[in-house]
């Protein structure tokens, strides 16, 4: 085994076993709205574009719990498959996938986000397992409501990030319309994670430039485009200047495009001096200070040295990466797989220390809940 130490998993998807489980956390009026007569309900997640995955599921087949819920819905299964064997000292639970926030009805979207946060606190962050931490899901379509939600639950001791899933206004995330969210996150001391999949719900932004692709293969290949844009936009509109302690996590888009983006943004810094009042430092400086990227899905060239050459051409990547499995998705990364691709000297940072510092987790991490041998 190349890495025998502890890890923090910055992206784990937990889920309700059925929508009925979440309905309990809605107000009486919304419960009545979603529960229709007979066996149907009104959806609490939006329609998404038709890019079906092989087999109709994008989860690992082995993660379906024996008791009938979907992957990520059963704590015992998650503990058995992920938390214990991987020596996870902290896992950030980020919904499956939280695109409820992209519901067209902004009032329902707001209600479902609140319910999801309450459900998460009640069912997962209740102290049953000190390794579990949560994310504040927010309705980005109404930034003031999103900010209110951040302030409502963001100070819960187990909430460790605000998570943005969908682009509710069709503008990239640096746009001033979204700034109330960052202000609230800064007020409660939480970083903001971008885990963008909401373009799939056709909220106004597109998954990729140049037209809507035909296949899931294209969609997943081009998926980093949105977060590349959001990072660019956060810089352009001064989010790092206005909110001096705010940190950003870019989730689930790989890492090897960062040199391309930042070389270009640094080169264009001189134009921003004239176009925007907000770009006071080189873009790459903001990123090195305030931004982290999750490793998954780590790029997979034929030889690991190829990936390292790209990362080293930029330098300092060992400080920017946070390990994530993305359990229980089909393309979840195993820690040993990642460990083989990165220099041994990087591993304690990538697997543990970068995330520990980023999320403000205590230095002494708990041993495994329920006993068992803590490794490392």
């Amino acid at each position: 085994m190349r890495y025998g130490g502890p890890c923090i998993d910055a992206d784990v998807h937990h889920d309700w076993a059925s929508e009925a489980e979440l309905h309990q956390y809605l107000s009486k009026e919304w419960r009545e709205y979603v529960r229709l007569p007979g066996k149907t309900t009104n959806r609490i997640r939006p329609a998404t574009m038709a890019y079906p995955h092989t087999g109709g599921t994008n989860k690992r087949i082995d993660t379906y719990p024996p008791n009938g819920g979907g992957p990520g819905s059963d704590y015992a299964t998650m503990k058995r498959q992920l938390l214990d064997p991987l020596d996870v000292r902290a896992a950030i639970l980020s919904y499956s996938i939280g695109h409820n926030a992209a519901l067209p009805n902004l009032y329902l979207a707001t209600a479902v986000c609140r319910a999801a946060n309450d459900w998460s606190i009640d069912r997962w962050l209740d102290g049953r397992d000190d390794r579990l931490y949560g994310a504040v899901l927010v309705p980005t379509q109404v930034p003031d409501e999103a900010a209110a939600e951040v302030r409502r639950v963001g100070r819960h001791p187990r909430m460790k990030e605000v998570i943005l899933i969908s682009n509710g206004l069709g503008k990239p995330f640096g746009h001033p319309a979204y700034h109330p969210i960052y202000e609230a996150a800064a007020d409660v001391g939480l970083p903001v994670a971008l885990h963008v999949a909401g373009e799939l719900s056709a909220t106004g932004a597109h998954i990729a430039g140049g037209g809507v692709p035909s296949t899931r293969l294209e969609n997943i290949t081009l998926a980093p485009q949105a977060e590349q844009h959001h990072l660019t936009s956060l810089i352009a509109h001064g989010v790092f200047e206005k909110y001096r302690d705010l940190k950003i996590l870019l989730v689930e888009n790989g890492v090897s495009w960062l040199p391309w983006l930042l070389w270009n943004l640094d080169d264009n810094y001189r134009y921003w001096r004239r176009e925007s009042p907000w770009v006071k430092r080189r873009p790459s400086e903001y990123v090195r200070e305030r931004v982290k990227l999750t490793t998954q899905p780590l790029e997979d060239p034929a030889r690991p040295e190829q990936l390292m050459e790209v990362l080293e051409s930029f330098g300092g990547m060992e400080d920017l990466l946070c390990f994530a499995t993305d359990y229980p998705h089909w393309d979840a990364d195993d820690p040993q797989y990642i460990a083989r691709k990165l220099p041994e000297a990087w591993l304690p940072k990538v697997f543990y220390e970068n995330a520990r510092e980023f999320f403000g987790l205590p230095k002494t991490a708990p041993a495994q809940a329920g006993g068992g041998t803590a490794r490392g």
Binding site: T54, N167, G170, K171, P172, H175, V196, E199, G204, A205, H206, I207, A208, G209, G210, P213, S214, T215, R216, L217, E218, I220, T221, L222, P224, Q225, A226, Q228, H229, H230, S233, A236, H237, G254, S256, P259, W260, W263, D266, D267, N268, Y269, Y271, W272, R274, E275, S276, V279, E299, D300, P301, Q306, L307, M308, E309, V310, E312, S313, F314, W330
Partner: protein
């Protein structure tokens, strides 16, 4: 002479150079309209026909403007007209100064003409633009070659236009940028274009900037629309990446063997991350694309080239080369392109300083020599090049 620790001395390249992508433009719209039928000239009108106006604009307007001006200040011709409109200025500033053996002129802002909502007019503009190129540029200087504009919003008309201009040897390829139909360029609706191009041995150059007019329903980036030029300028690579991925996935290179594509105006450093992700996901999603029986990278090496402009200004001399070498022998993929007269253009000497000397012959000559359909059926000859160059299409 600066030493390149990665191997090879870094010098200015002194050999024969092909500029794979620069830009030409008409002096004013009337110059273009000379090549339109009388009825269209009458429809469009004439400047000054009435106070304050008289003529309809024939080309959509770009949304994003460079804060220092889109074009090099010095490129504005003394005699008037926009940059790229005067042959003598272009000769002096581009052909002579860069000591070019050939330059390929790819239109300028007009590449978005096919996106115009009035597709009848878009068709006329494309046809007139090609006739204008043939009469005003081709043959005026033996170093000049042109790309034909295609009215891609009407793919059958575009195919017809390709077959028409193919008879003029000075057209060495076809340029596309603006997207008239709102689907990525690999969609089957566009395939008549590639069929005609392959049949005529004309490669297609896919140029940046086509999604940045209000006329298109496609976006110039994922995740929303950029506010500033600085954002737009970097993210404009994204639609080109989408088209590239889509064209490979939709089997354009499988259906039309011999078809070749270049992407231009988007730099080069995005290549490793995109194709690594693409190759990995191809393995998972093969069932979705049963007609694609080779990996995306195999298609890339075989049939796709990358215009170098604008080269990423990574810090120091080594970072960009190290980054690109990680992907593979990219010296076989890159074709030097100046982007003249764009403000971000790369003069040949400056580009040569950033690339290893052992890449120079390929990047500055061999690759482009083997890519375009040169007049006379044979590529320009640099020193030591085998006939057909090192990267001839299959």
């Amino acid at each position: 002479m600066p030493e390149d620790p990665a191997g090879g001395a870094r010098t200015s390249y002194g050999g024969p150079t092909i500029d794979a992508c620069a830009h030409h433009h008409w002096t004013n719209q009337l110059e273009l309209m000379e090549y339109m039928p009388e009825g269209w000239r009458e429809f469009l009108g004439r400047p000054g026909a009435f106070p304050g106006g008289g003529v309809m604009a024939a080309v959509p307007v770009h949304k994003y403007q460079h804060p220092e001006g889109d074009k090099l200040t010095e490129a504005w011709p003394e005699a008037g007209g926009p940059p790229g409109s005067d042959l003598d200025t272009l000769r002096h500033q581009l052909l002579d100064r860069n000591r070019l053996e050939r330059v390929v002129l790819a239109h300028d802002a007009a590449i978005v003409a096919p996106t115009m909502p009035n597709h009848y007019l878009a068709l006329e503009v494309a046809k007139a633009a090609n006739t204008w190129s043939a009469e005003r540029w081709i043959g005026r200087d033996e170093r000049i070659a042109c790309l034909a504009m295609v009215p891609n919003q009407l793919p059958d008309e575009a195919a017809k236009e390709i077959r028409r201009i193919a008879a003029t040897p000075g057209f060495v390829g076809v340029v596309m940028g603006g997207n008239g139909l709102g689907k990525p360029f690999g969609h089957p609706v566009y395939h008549p274009i590639y069929e005609a191009a392959a049949e005529c041995d004309l490669p297609v150059v896919l140029h940046a900037g086509g999604d940045a007019t209000p006329d298109v329903i496609t976006h110039t980036a994922g995740g929303g629309l950029p506010a500033t030029y600085a954002e737009y300028e970097v993210l404009k690579a994204q639609p080109v990446m989408t088209h590239l991925v889509n064209m490979i996935v939709q089997g354009v290179f499988e259906k039309y063997r011999g078809f070749r594509l270049m992407v231009a105006g988007v730099g080069i450093a995005w290549l490793p991350s995109l194709f690594w992700r693409f190759d990995t996901n191809y393995k998972t999603f093969r069932r979705e694309v049963p007609w694609l029986n080779r990996s995306p990278s195999e298609v890339l090496w075989s049939s796709i080239r990358i215009g170098t402009w604008p080269l990423e200004q990574a810090p120091g001399r080594e970072a960009l080369v190290r980054h690109m070498r990680a992907f593979g022998p990219v010296e076989d993929l890159l074709c030097y392109a100046s982007g003249y007269p764009d403000r971000e253009m790369d003069p040949a000497a400056a580009a040569s300083e950033r690339l290893p000397a052992e890449w120079h012959a390929k990047v500055f000559h061999t690759n482009a020599a083997g890519f375009y359909r040169w007049p006379g059926g044979s590529p320009p000859r640099g020193p030591g090049t085998a006939a057909g160059g090192g990267t001839s299409p299959p």
